[in-house]
Symmetry: C2
Subunit: 232 residues, 2 copies
């Protein structure tokens, strides 16, 4: 087989910044690293890109292995390729951010996988440049969520408007006016009101809504300015 002569070869990994929402707070899924160096330290979910898979494939595989979940929302963040970011040997890592409905994950046997959820603001120290990856991913999540309805990926099938608003407030670290928010949300036409109410949060109860998936897919590109005074 011909090769490009004399060029160095590197390991290529993927690392996933996995966000979830428990109904109140934004969370981050971490695992204890299973190999040296830094074994047993907290780390993003990651792994090496195999010979017959693309980085996207690798990210999906690694996510399934660590959570049992398939079909997770995944988006390429960027590549991390500083020469010495991994002390053992040169490894470039493709960062992905993933959005999970946390309840789907909790439905899995949590012993089978040793990933753990942390509040994003109370995460432990992470290995290598993983803290930078998380910071970049939070920024990108804010950016995208301001323009596209990706946050629904973190909600269960049925959710309430107050829940949705809390999620937006968490992601953007801001308070949003209830009246303006619900006006904006309903103007998108993406939500379908259900009969049922969620009585857990109040005496009155909040109506459940579900996503209009047809419109969601059709309108994924146009969902501007859900955050007041948006400054990207």
């Amino acid at each position: 087989m011909i090769e490009y002569s004399g060029q160095p070869h590197y390991l290529v990994a993927v690392d996933c910044i996995v966000f979830g929402f428990d109904g109140e707070r934004l969370k981050l899924l971490l695992v204890k690293r299973g190999l040296e160096p830094e074994i047993n330290k907290w780390s993003l979910i990651g792994g090496f890109v195999g010979a017959n898979e693309s980085p996207d494939d690798a990210a999906n595989r690694v996510l399934k292995k660590n959570t049992g979940l398939e079909g997770i929302y995944l988006e390429q963040l960027q590549i991390y390729g500083e020469p010495h970011r991994d002390p053992i040997e040169r490894t470039l890592s493709v960062g992905y951010f993933a959005l999970i409905d946390i309840h789907k994950y909790e439905a899995q046997l949590s012993d089978e996988y040793h990933a753990e959820w942390f509040l994003v603001n109370e995460s432990p120290k992470l290995i290598f440049d993983h803290a930078q990856m998380v910071a970049d991913a939070r920024k990108k999540l804010r950016y995208k969520a301001a323009l596209h309805p990706i946050l629904f990926e973190m909600l269960p099938k049925k959710f309430t408007i107050p829940q949705l608003q809390m999620l937006f407030e968490e992601v953007n670290d801001t308070k949003i006016d209830t009246r303006n928010f619900s006006r904006k949300i309903s103007s998108t036409g993406l939500l379908i009101k259900l009969e049922e109410k969620d009585k857990s949060g109040s005496k009155k109860g909040a109506f459940y809504f579900k996503l209009d998936k047809k419109k969601y897919k059709a309108n994924f590109q146009a969902f501007l300015n859900l955050i007041p005074n948006l400054k990207l």
Copy 2:
């Protein structure tokens, strides 16, 4: 030296999608590939990531080598990593899109570098997955340019409003109303009007403007909706 045992290693390259604007049309900078396979075919400007450089470093080095220019606006696009995208051996490529003031480049000795400008819509067939990279880069350029003032990176120090508008129209492949466009542009406060006029395009002449670089840097994040009926 310790290594991660048994993991495959790959070549890692960078490829730059270089956009320029000649005052009327959007252009793409290509080179004839200098090595087998596909030698002498048209290709994006690219190269392998060296042992002591990051992909960002490599992109800057490769751009300087092929154009003589430094300090070019560069942004990571995404990674291209399908297992067989390069027929010789597995190579992952980090795509970058670059924005150049085409006049700076023309000031260089054009014989010294054999890169050539093509109209983006009349580019030759490209090697490997480079056509896909160009398509992705155009999409991302539209996206970013709708929200951030990056298109100024393609203009000379002095430029006119009609030129600026033509650039926006080229990038977005649309027509924009002159009155609304100049209202929007001036509301950003990013432009400083000069005394001088550009007489080349008309009898009346169009006033030159320059970028207020302080405001440009300060407001890089907030420059929304320059394209009417924006649908991202």
